[in-house]
């Protein structure tokens, strides 16, 4: 695609631990066009949260990051601290999971939305910032009067909306949503997804949606990428990947979200055996091979690269 807003090339993230270096992200590449949306699906240990934080260099000091992350023409990984600050929140912002600890418990919600505006001086005066905060609260479906509340006074759904408002405070181009609906009820989840969709259209936002809930992604994003053991193992248009997966892992993952009304899954729960691999202790060859129902001779020998599996689709499996 021409001029993608976010272009990631061969990203590697390795943590330094007492037990030695642990690779959490092992060569991930993807791109999101301006105004587009990408969903990143994966379970615990696949590296998706590490990836999200790496995009804005939010990882702790011991993490080694190599590769290229080009956001709006600038390589985030090589920016100096001043340049990095300029990019954070104004070019790309993250919406975290709205659990109680994502917000400062001793600051009002309004102050927390105003904070990035003051830090980046995007609002002019403090008064203008507060007005904008009130406006943002309204935009995410909350009463402006809630600006004076503390996080513990709000419900889970309300806190999630506050986090969205915070992320939009400096009018970013890219919104990275890291598990934004995970702890929420079904109906609230639907509300938040609808809100993200509206905001995306309104502001021509580019959206990157990270979650373990594959079914949510098919609704929220045009393109889908599935991560396993630090790598992307399948990508393609959302519905196709979910409905007719090329990679056996994606198929196993999709089975956890049965379509209601589909007789094939009625009283027939299906899933994968074993457990998701721990980073740093990956099996040889294809990391999925110990759990794969279609594993063959060559699978333990070498790790397959992404290969084309249809128009705009690819999967990292030798059977493709």
């Amino acid at each position: 695609m021409s001029d993608p807003l976010l272009s990631v090339r061969n990203l590697h993230v390795t943590y330094a631990t007492e037990a030695g270096p642990v690779p959490a992200v092992r060569g991930v590449s993807f791109a999101i066009e301006r105004g587009g949306s990408l969903g990143l699906a994966g379970e615990s240990g696949c590296g998706k949260s590490t990836l999200a934080n790496a995009l804005l260099r939010l990882l702790p000091a011991g993490a080694e990051v190599t590769g290229e992350v080009v956001l709006d023409g600038r390589n985030v990984l090589t920016l100096n601290p001043g340049g990095l600050r300029a990019v954070r929140w104004t070019a790309g912002a993250i919406v975290f999971q709205g659990a109680l600890h994502a917000l400062n418990p001793v600051q009002t919600v309004g102050d927390q939305i105003v904070e990035p505006m003051l830090v980046h001086q995007t609002a002019g005066s403090a008064k203008a910032a507060m007005a904008k905060a009130a406006d943002l609260l309204g935009r995410v479906g909350l009463a402006a009067g809630l600006a004076d509340s503390y996080p513990h006074q709000l419900s889970g759904g309300q806190r999630q909306r506050v986090l969205i408002a915070m992320a939009l405070a400096c009018d970013p181009l890219l919104l990275i949503a890291d598990e934004p609906t995970t702890a929420l009820d079904l109906m609230v989840q639907a509300q938040v997804l609808a809100l993200l969709d509206e905001l995306k259209r309104e502001r021509n936002l580019t959206l990157m949606f990270i979650t373990h809930d594959l079914s949510v992604l098919t609704y929220a994003c045009r393109h889908l990428a599935v991560m396993y053991a630090g790598r992307i193992v399948e990508e393609g248009p959302g519905w196709e990947v979910f409905g007719a997966a090329a990679h056996p892992y994606t198929r196993g993952l999709a089975a956890a979200f049965p379509t209601i009304g589909d007789p094939a899954s009625r009283l027939a729960p299906s899933g994968l055996g074993g457990d998701p691999p721990t980073p740093g202790k990956l099996p040889s060859g294809c990391p999925f091979q110990p759990r794969c129902p279609l594993a063959q001779e060559g699978c333990a020998a070498a790790e397959p690269e992404l290969r084309p599996a249809g128009p705009e689709r690819s999967a990292a499996c030798i059977l493709v």
Binding site: E43, S215, Y249, L253, A256, I260, L272
Partner: protein, 324 residues
Amino acid sequence: MHPGVTPLVEVDDLHVHFGRSRAVDGASLRVYPGEVLALVGESGSGKTTLIRVIQGLQTPTAGTIRLEGSRRDRSSRRAIQTIFHDPAVQMVFQDPTGALNPRQTIYEIVAEGLRIARSGGDERHKVLDALSRAGLRPPERFLPLYPHEISGGQRQRVVIAGAMVLEPRLLLADEPVASLDASIRGEILALLRRLVAETGLAILAVTHDLGLAWNIADRVAVMYLGRIVETGPAEQLLGDPQHPYTKALLSVVPETREMEQQILVGEIPDSTRIPSGCRFHPRCPLLQSGTLPSAVAERCRGADPGILPPHAVRAAACWAVTST
């Protein structure tokens, strides 16, 4: 659906109030041997409080619970004071990591129930058998391990083994797979269905996940703000929901495509301020559409549809449904 069969559990007109908060505000249901009943609802619906009462972890404010015919009216003072426990009812918890004492070995964890019940017999044999039936093989390998040395899915299997070792007739499952990785959920759910087939166990599973209900439930009951608002066989309820709340829930489940999304406005009201009339009426899309005859709409706003009769095969607490 179950003519003449004595239900395992009979809950009648159960109320659980915490001060002014009415967590369970009149619920009646039946669970029959060999069936899986899914109790579906969002947070604040009272579903977790309800099964905690059945398990004996929570004393009710009013109402009766009958286990296999014997009557235990647990609103009386004496009943509250005695420790209610029936080994025929066991529980599987949402958070398998939290449910296991980090200082106990797997052997001790699974054997705990046997020791408390002082059941004789070969303890080690029973523990190995339970672990094996829960899918942990070879079971000997797991005996000396501590919870932090096994994976999340394995921990949940240990919880299940610990419950099954007492040969229960009813298993209460509180969001049994919600904390587990998505790809392994199917295995645990398949295990539960297998246990039902092998032992004639009944399962009452509390969940917010309608897909889970589709996967394993024979019957479904939907809860909203302390009341059961609809019950019925799973295919019927999930395929052709009658209560507007059930319809709205199904419409927003990403996996159901045929329905047009009905996203409700606002959130579930606080359980201290339950709306008058039908408790769902302030958010009811059917009422808001204006298509209901005014007599029905009046009742929605003013009259409580009441508690669903537990014997009914298919029922919905909705004036629009009962008025046709």
